[in-house]
Amino acid sequence: MSYIEVRNVWQQYGEHLVLEGLNLKIAEGEFCTMVGASGCGKSTFLRLLLGQERPSRGEILLGGQPLVAEPDPSRGVVFQRYSVFPHLNVLDNVALGLELPHAPLLGRLLGQRKRAAREHAAALLSRVGLGHALNKYPAQLSGGMQQRLAIAQALVMKPKVLLLDEPFGALDPGIRKDMHALLLELWQETRLTVFMVTHDLTEGFSLGTRLLVFDKVRVDPHAPYAYGSRVTYDLPLNSARQPAPAGRILQPQPGN
């Protein structure tokens, strides 16, 4: 059964055609990695999935319903930079996601509920290896730790889809390897549907269960923006990998 369906999506900015005739069916729990040259539209596609932009033509369905055309808690996101709030410490960065939906007036929970939110956030943070840094501000963390925080922050919402825009692009290779391991573990525990844009082909092949290559099929050298990208390769990968039994912390809990 397809969970996300992309139906004939085109994206165009003025004369500049970025994506043309995109058709995809993605099953629930798939880990899609997206690669391609700079400017090939893979980040544009991610923004469409996020609801940050609307497609010029066509539509995207999530679970049979048209995608909400503005970012909402059904989709989590991790950017390469600026993913975490500099004015909140590590704990509150994650607890924020538990507070906002339940406090429409104050934007914060009080008393017992606040304590519960913080405990939940702390448990998730120790799962991603930040248990020792709960009271630090993001500026005091290394790049890798900031991205761990950003991932925890996205996961605490239990989104249906996790969108990653070159999340490890700015990290050095050793740290990047740790992050890959963490991400795979979390994916296996949560069985999330993941979309990840990357410039690193190896990363694309080793992490994904499906690799999407974005490229232009037609190129007019006199009018470089006349044609957009399509998905030129759509490769199933790592089919032996099975989702592990869901972990305790990340398991969807009734009533949440």
Binding site: P73, V77, F85, H87, G97, L100, Q140
Partner: protein
Amino acid sequence: MRLLNRHPDRSTRLMLVVLPFALLLCAYLFGSAQRLAENPRDKLLPSAGQMGEAIKQVAFTEDKRSGAYVLWQDTASSVTRLASGLAISAVAGLFLGILAGALPLAGASLSPLMVVLSMVPPLALLPILFIVFGLGELSKVMLIVIGITPILARDLEQRAREIPAELRIKALTLGASTWTYILRVVLPQLAPRLLISLRLVLGSAWLFLIAAEAIASEDGLGYRIFLVRRYLAMDMILPYVAWITLLAWLTDWTLKQLTQRAFPWYEGGRP
């Protein structure tokens, strides 16, 4: 070593800080002594002793007519006006800045309006304020508010715009509404910037206060300076100016300390 790469060490730095102040003071005392030697009744550059006498008169002697200590009463009046003006401007500037900077729909009308309104010279509006609000406290406070609110609002609007789009999107994916986004993301991120902006407009705020007091007032530091000007009382004017400068500097220092204490994450998150 190139000049570019030479840094003062601790003691040199202290010396370099004190040096210009000491030079200015020496230059004054020297000039004053010279003029007084030529003409003991010279009023332009009073000696330290003459100024000390004047300070004693206004700060530690009861006024014969009103029974008050003039300097302290002037200070209390001026500081009250200044603080009210700054507080109202801070709230108004924050409100307008967030509205214009965070909400594109509001910004579309507010931004151009604020640009134009901030070009109106506040002192040119002073007569209107006196006509509308009378000669009491309100018009003086309003002059400060009108003078600095546009500056604060435009600065905060700019800072609100500079909050990365990624953070806005992140907040939305964490379940924020427009209101809670402003409350939990925009407001706390602008708070330290507000304190910094307040420091920058402090000089203007004093300028407007003294202008208003000079024209229509019955007390206040600005009023006193302009009153004793009639008698060429430099021995009083100079200490008053120094006192105002000290007050302004102390306010600036307090705001700076407050920014560092209250917002440790700002400017690189100190532990």
